[in-house]
């Protein structure tokens, strides 16, 4: 049922998505190999966030196939509860990080991280606590374990959100503009955490506006506009010598606005 090879972790084949009359994804093909990092850039409304959300089925696609480690994510043949069971299981293997963090404000930092392993994997309180502390340690926030999200800065919230996603030991991490809502001086601490994941060969898909970071961290870069992949290449080539006029225009405008 799958053409995915041993090395393919995420694969999209002819993925289409429409909102009403508006086609936001017009047949996307994409492949992320195990341990590789792909950055997706593009103007707002280009479909890059929708693409990332489709992989997790937060947006249900209308056509095409999405595979995670050889298992089909979208299953038009499954309805209702059967599909919910299927997607819940799939999602446990994907960590999603959102632009607006979406930490659970009613839970402490540690509880945010341990809730899913405790309730979904049946991990006992002690092991969950050890796991949670280990992950908070790794994002540099072990000292904040007992506090509630309302007292954290944006950068700290996003680092906790990354720890929360890692707690399910995902096969792939999806970052949806993880630093876009942060004050400029807080971006770096989140980027550092993402870099450390890259060094451990976590498979990642990163939707971002941070061109320098994307160039630095990723193995492959894609430029999307109008629901299609306009151009893709190694980051060095895509950012320094893009083939397409649209890519050049976007990068020029973006660099001008950041200067």
């Amino acid at each position: 049922m799958t053409q995915a090879t041993d090395t393919s972790m995420v694969e999209l084949q002819g993925v289409k998505k429409r909102f009403g009359d508006l086609e936001v994804l017009k047949g996307i093909d994409l492949r992320v190999d195990r341990g590789k990092i792909i950055s997706i850039i593009g103007p707002s409304g280009s479909g890059k966030s929708t693409l990332l959300r489709s992989i997790n089925n937060l947006e249900a696609i209308d056509d095409g196939r999405i595979l995670l480690d050889g298992v089909q994510v979208n299953r038009p043949d499954l309805k209702g509860l059967a599909f919910e069971r299927h997607i819940n299981h799939i999602r446990q293997n994907m960590g999603m990080v959102f632009q607006h963090f979406n930490l659970f404000p009613h839970l402490s930092t540690l509880e945010n991280v341990t809730l899913a392993p405790r309730k979904l994997k049946g991990m006992d309180a002690k092991s969950a606590r050890e796991l949670g502390m280990e992950l908070l340690e790794r994002v540099g926030l072990a000292d904040k374990a007992a506090v509630y999200p309302s007292s954290l800065s944006g950068g700290q919230k996003q680092r906790v959100a990354i720890a929360r996603a890692l707690a399910m030991r995902p096969k792939v991490m999806l970052f949806d503009e993880a630093t876009s809502a942060l004050d400029p001086e807080l971006v770096e601490e989140v980027n550092q955490v993402m870099k450390s994941l890259a060094e451990e060969h976590m498979t990642m898909l990163i939707v971002t506006h941070e061109m320098a970071f994307a160039r630095d961290v990723s193995d492959w870069a894609m430029f999307m506009d109008g629901g299609v992949v306009v151009e893709e290449n190694t980051p060095d080539d895509l950012f320094t010598q893009p083939d397409q006029e649209r890519t050049r225009n976007f990068l020029r405008k973006h660099l001008a606005s950041q200067a």
């Binding site: 997790n56 937060l58 919910e84 069971r85 819940n88 299981h89 999602r91 446990q92 994907m94 999603m96 959102f98 607006h100 979406n102 930490l103 659970f104 404000p105 009613h106 839970l107 809730l115 899913a116 309730k119 979904l120 509630y148 309302s150 007292s151 959100a161 929360r164 996603a165 399910m168």
Partner: protein, 217 residues
């Protein structure tokens, strides 16, 4: 006219019983109306209209008619066919009445929890119901605390309406004491002060709970 509070002192043990009854009824009604209101809100928001229609009608009935009428209807009206003990009618009537109001609050606070919270939970692998249970409802509850507290403070005063169907709460027992001592003014002043104190205590408690909840929002 001179005041004589000595009958109040004589009958104070009776008033204490009334306070006890009022507080006990208040506690039961509070638990029933908060848990019930939460359930009604969830059913109203997350089931099809055809499923929740009877429930909404029921709630609508309790919200659009006076509490006293509801109690008369349940006790004397229904009493033509089935005699339900007054205390059961009182607690259920008041419970349903405030369940309707609390459900309204929960509906608003559940809606106010951002869709990002739902998505974050689902993306971890939680199902729809687990997400409601672990994420949405607890947050909606914390957000509802200020208004819930206000409702419960009003509810405790409404318990006095239960005297109309013969429940021996604070007002009912003071009426009894007045009928024996003929000192209405002194008794009414006294129970007014008692209600005032109950209110102050509840408001203090509410403020404390609100402070604790604020860091979780």
């Amino acid at each position: 006219m001179e005041f004589d509070f000595s009958p109040v002192i004589t009958y104070f043990p009776t008033l204490i019983k009334g306070i006890g009854a009022t507080l006990l009824i208040g506690l039961v009604v509070a638990i029933m109306s908060i848990i019930g209101g939460q359930i009604v809100a969830v059913i109203t928001l997350y089931t099809k209209k055809t499923v929740n229609w009877p429930l909404r009608f029921f709630i609508w009935l309790f919200m659009t008619t006076p509490l006293l009428l509801q109690l008369y209807f349940l006790y004397f009206g229904m009493g033509q066919w089935i005699l339900i003990p007054a205390i059961v009618v009182g607690v259920l009537g008041l419970g349903f009445h405030y369940m309707a109001y609390n459900a309204d609050i929960f509906i608003a606070t559940i809606k106010s929890v951002s869709s990002g919270q739902y998505e974050a939970s689902r993306s971890l692998g939680f199902g729809h119901l687990a997400t409601l249970f672990y994420i949405i409802i607890p947050q909606a509850f914390y957000r509802a605390i200020p208004q819930l507290g206000n409702n419960m403070i009003i509810m405790v005063k409404d318990i006095s309406v239960l005297s109309a169907i013969g429940i021996a709460e604070l007002v009912y027992l003071s009426q009894y004491a007045i009928s024996v001592t003929f000192r209405p003014f002194e008794f009414y002043i006294t129970i007014a002060v008692i209600y005032y104190l109950i209110n102050v205590l509840m408001e203090t408690g509410q403020a404390w709970v609100e402070r604790r909840a604020a860091i979780r929002r």
